[in-house]
């Protein structure tokens, strides 16, 4: 298990990380929104930024984009520190806390406005780039409707299109599938995968664990302003032991047997006895039960999901952080 703590040295700029923070902290008054996190997003990764609503993900993203000033700590985005962040931002596409556009302008006019504000965007190619971005998110047919008339899913797509107007090395997508139907969610997943396939680093935040698990190479888990754990998906789930589920007509008698083997958190649910395997080899469980004269009608080992990991790390469900 790999844990990142404040005591670790700041991540140096060797080009291996698209985003690296060191002790990054943000306080709003007396409330600590982000508490000394060391975020490390390797270049080329699809990094799932996990945590319940209110855990500090969005505040972290706002700091990385220069919208909010850190109270303490430092960060680098595409090699640029906070002071020179504007040199990196043209290569960063961002979707922060939902789409926001001028209500009375069309989708296309809204993109044209953002493109006009970009000093690195070539006006000669604006029309083509805007249409390409709209096409990429499947919004070309509704391009000339007013933003006011867009559904939440269409608004979300337009925000993603805005992030794709010019070539990007890093995409920061805060809850990109919010409000999308299952089809749209799948499309966003494909889009993220295809962008990542081209070498774009992606930081995608979500509170939907299953979504993250499918598209990410790395994850970081935030909770109440702290980074609980981060690394590759395998690294993060490694520390959580798989669960053994034993089915027997006499579960009460099985409990001491399993405990004797070294399983922890053993509990009874109907005909099931469930316990954390820990380092106990699964094959020993059935043997021990049979040896103790128990009837075993079923046995399964469940690999830990991110959900299990999160529950194990926080001791609670994936709910709003206080």
């Amino acid at each position: 298990m790999r844990r990142w703590r404040r005591s670790e040295p700041p991540v140096t700029d060797d080009g291996s990380h698209a985003i690296a923070t060191s002790g990054l902290t943000k306080r709003f008054g007396s409330q600590v929104a982000v508490n000394a996190i060391d975020l490390a997003v390797p270049t080329g990764a699809v990094y799932g930024f996990l945590g319940p609503n209110g855990s500090g993900k969005t505040t972290t993203i706002r700091m990385l984009l220069g919208l909010v000033m850190p109270t303490a700590g430092s960060f680098r985005v595409l090699g640029e520190e906070q002071a020179t962040l504007t040199a990196a931002l043209p290569r960063v596409g961002a979707l922060v806390e939902g789409p926001a556009f001028h209500l009375y302008l069309s989708g296309r006019a809204n993109l044209r406005r953002l493109d006009a504000a970009d000093r690195y965007a070539d006006p000669a190619t604006a029309r083509r780039r805007i249409d390409a971005a709209l096409d990429r998110v499947g919004l070309l047919a509704a391009a000339d409707k007013r933003f006011r008339a867009y559904s939440l899913g269409m608004r979300q797509r337009l925000a993603i299109a805005a992030a794709l107007l010019t070539p990007k090395d890093l995409l920061v997508l805060d809850e990109p599938t919010n409000g999308l139907d299952p089809q749209g969610t799948r499309e966003v997943r494909h889009l993220v995968s295809s962008l990542a396939g081209d070498g774009t680093t992606v930081l995608v935040s979500s509170h939907l664990l299953s979504e993250i698990e499918q598209m990410c190479s790395h994850v970081g888990v935030m909770h109440v302003g702290r980074m609980l754990r981060q690394g590759t998906v395998a690294e993060v789930t490694r520390g959580v032991h798989p669960l053994a589920r034993l089915e027997t007509p006499d579960p009460a008698a099985a409990v001491p047997v399993l405990q004797g083997l070294g399983l922890t958190e053993v509990r009874v649910e109907g005909h099931l006895v469930i316990g954390e395997l820990g380092e106990v080899p699964p094959e020993k469980v059935v043997a021990a039960c049979v040896h103790a004269g128990l009837d075993v009608t079923g046995f399964a080992v469940a690999a830990p999901s991110l959900e299990d990991t999160f529950v194990a790390l926080t001791g609670e469900g994936f709910d709003v952080s206080g």
């Binding site: 709003f28 706002r62 984009l65 220069g66 919208l67 909010v68 000033m69 962040l85 504007t86 040199a87 931002l89 043209p90 290569r91 960063v92 961002a94 922060v96 806390e97 939902g98 789409p99 926001a100 556009f101 001028h102 209500l103 009375y104 302008l105 044209r112 406005r113 953002l114 006009a116 504000a117 970009d118 000093r119 690195y120 070539d122 006006p123 083509r128 780039r129 390409a132 971005a133 990429r136 925000a159 805005a162 794709l164 010019t166 070539p167 990007k168 090395d169 295809s194 962008l195 396939g197 081209d198 070498g199 774009t200």
Partner: protein, 287 residues
């Protein structure tokens, strides 16, 4: 566009463009907005109303009528000046307060501010462009009043040479130029009020609140300006010299009041803009 084109970020080897594209986009946003178009229409109504009222009333305004009104029958250009006088206190500041109050707070309120800043638009550049838009709208507003006044006035009362307040006569073209000068002078005053509006707009995420506060600032200045006991404050009030545009219609032109007014405008612009910059440059954008 192929995926490869999207990733290859070769463009940062290109220097950032210097141009008016963002400003033009800002102007399109301001002038394309129904509310602002309506405001310009409303500003054009008083000169029409004044001209028709004077034309159709049986008794022409006597010598006791407010400045400019008594001269309308003699030359249509005075319709513009009468309209500027009646709109100076309320309607013109209101229009300026509307666009300037909305400038930053409106973007913050709709959330578009965070997307502009991550494009990235530098915060100082954003303030400059926002303020430039405010100035253009302010000048447009006073010019609309003046030009509608000139147009209606000349149609209903004719043009020709203009008799100044001092009794001298000047030609129509010179008279027209002086009317435009008066509109630009008042426009500068509105632009200075717009700087105050910009400052207030960086302090809140509620555009209506920023607009109201700017109106209150303007109205409050007018009230103080009319209390003789507070005379010591008057030279520092933004509105104090606005009415001095009438000095442009004397012979020779009395520059003292107008120049004083322009200096006060400039001082307000510098102080308000710097304060807006000081506030906005370190502001946490949480909207």
């Amino acid at each position: 566009m192929s995926a490869a084109e999207i990733t290859q970020a070769t463009r940062l080897t290109v220097a950032p463009r210097v141009g008016t594209r963002f400003l033009r986009s800002e102007l399109r946003l301001i002038f394309g907005r129904r509310r602002n178009q309506l405001a310009l229409v409303v500003l054009g109504l008083p000169p029409i109303a004044i001209a028709i009222a004077v034309r159709t009333s049986l008794s022409q305004p006597g010598s006791t009528a407010p400045t400019f009104f008594s001269s309308i029958a003699g030359n249509g250009l005075f319709v513009a000046l009468a309209a500027l006088t009646v709109e100076m206190a309320m309607l013109l500041p209101l229009a300026t307060a509307m666009t300037s109050g909305d400038s930053v707070a409106g973007e913050a309120n709709s959330g578009t501010l965070r997307y502009l800043l991550t494009v990235p638009v530098g915060r100082l550049r954003l303030l400059f462009v926002k303020y430039a838009g405010i100035v253009v709208f302010a000048l447009t507003s006073t010019l609309v009043v003046a030009l509608v006044g000139v147009l209606v006035g000349v149609i209903l009362f004719g043009g020709g040479s203009m008799t100044l307040l001092s009794g001298n006569q000047i030609g129509f073209v010179e008279g027209l130029l002086r009317v435009v000068g008066a509109a630009l002078y008042l426009g500068a005053g509105m632009a200075a009020l717009g700087a105050v509006g910009l400052l207030i707009s960086t302090l809140t995420e509620q555009p209506i609140a920023a607009t109201l506060a700017t109106v209150v600032f303007s109205a409050g200045s007018l009230i103080i300006d009319q209390i003789p006991q507070l005379g010591a404050l008057h030279p520092y009030l933004l509105v104090d010299r606005w009415a001095d545009f009438s000095d442009l219609f004397r012979f020779p032109i009395l520059w003292t009041g107008v120049m004083h007014g322009l200096y006060v405008d400039l001082a307000y612009v510098v102080v308000a803009f710097l304060a807006a910059w000081a506030r906005f440059s370190v502001k946490d954008i949480t909207s």
